[in-house]
Amino acid sequence: MAKNIIIIGGGPAGMEASARLDALGYTVFLVEKEKALGGHLARWDRLFPEGKPAGPVLDSLVGNLGNTKVLLESDVLSLNRLGDSFRISLSSGVSVIADAVLLTTGFDLFEASKKEEYGYGIYDHVVTNADVEEFFRTGGDPRIDNPQRIGLVHCVGSRDEKAGCRNCSKVCCATAVKQACELKAKFPAATVYCFYMDLRMFGRGYEDLYLKAQKEYGIRFIRGRVSEVSERIDKTLQIKAEDTLSSTPLRVTLDLLVLMAGMRPSREGTKVAKMIHLATGDDGFLSSLDGFGGMQATSIPGLFVAGAATGPKTLPDTIAEARAAASLIHEYLQKS
């Protein structure tokens, strides 16, 4: 009899792992709380570094699911161990007993309104990275109204102990530079500024993106964290920061401010981890067995993790982890 596997979280990690395990002949139940699969990827327009459209990447992940049993609009009501197996109850009334569980619960975007000094949800022309993707995907956002002076703020809800987020979110630098170029392409006469503390362009092709942003798009990079934003009576925004390269305070008037909201542990992941007594780190992300050879394993036999549930990851990182988890689960089920 084919063994059952439950995968919680229908984003890229969950879909990739489902496809791999389905191809190995297992019965895979993919649990997703939303109405559709895709997670954050489904709400994204283009991907760094080359600006490849997100749609075909999503379609291919969905297309590879095979016989995976997709359970949408399903909240996890309980998850517990029964000897060597696991039992899950869902809000849809479905219960499944499985031999292994993979948590691919991903991340939540930092709620930008928590950084009140930036005025998200208060001022008319302050948006987030997710809003910019939505703007490019659907073509309309009253807050993005032909802006001629645009600023992007890196590290919103990242590297910020006061906001309870010490971690770097890893993807925002590349996303900011990508969006800066996209906005410049959309509004060619605009002046575009990126406010950064460090530019972490670590991946293949990221430095090329940075060079292109400087050389071809004329993006101005200002090293300094935006300290406060205020709205003028004409709805333009006054930005204060320090240009730390010249050790001088700086101000500029903008028509649009984009906040690069970072990655936070997902509420769903935290909830499910509590149910199954899986530890979380000081940063709130799920704990894997160790950060090297045991990345996809956990302290609980038969319970595995992949993707941004264990900390900020890029999409390629996430997909690689999902494949690694599938291989590890296969190995585990062969032995048991």
Binding site: K215, G218, D243, P249, R251
Partner: protein
Amino acid sequence: MIDFGFYLTPSSTIDLDKVDRKAVDDLARADSGIRTCIACGSCTASCTAGVFADTSVRQAILSVLNGRNEKARELLSSCMLCGKCMMVCPRGINTRHLILSIQKYFDGQ
């Protein structure tokens, strides 16, 4: 003018609203190095003139971007065009060409 016994110091804040964008765009056309600098400081560290007088390509570029064109000229006034900065620049900026471009641009004004 009445002497009130005090005076106001002008603000030292960089005001990007007042930057001459045309100067930056013109200079970027003459030499893209004005945009591609990553502010690593290699040029300043290797500068032969910098030991004796305030000389820094990095700071000069930043000054132009911040609309402080006079300061940029000052920072390059002791440059002897030895070209050491060109050899150490990791972005491959032709710093000598850039320095001359900046000097020429603002001399012409």
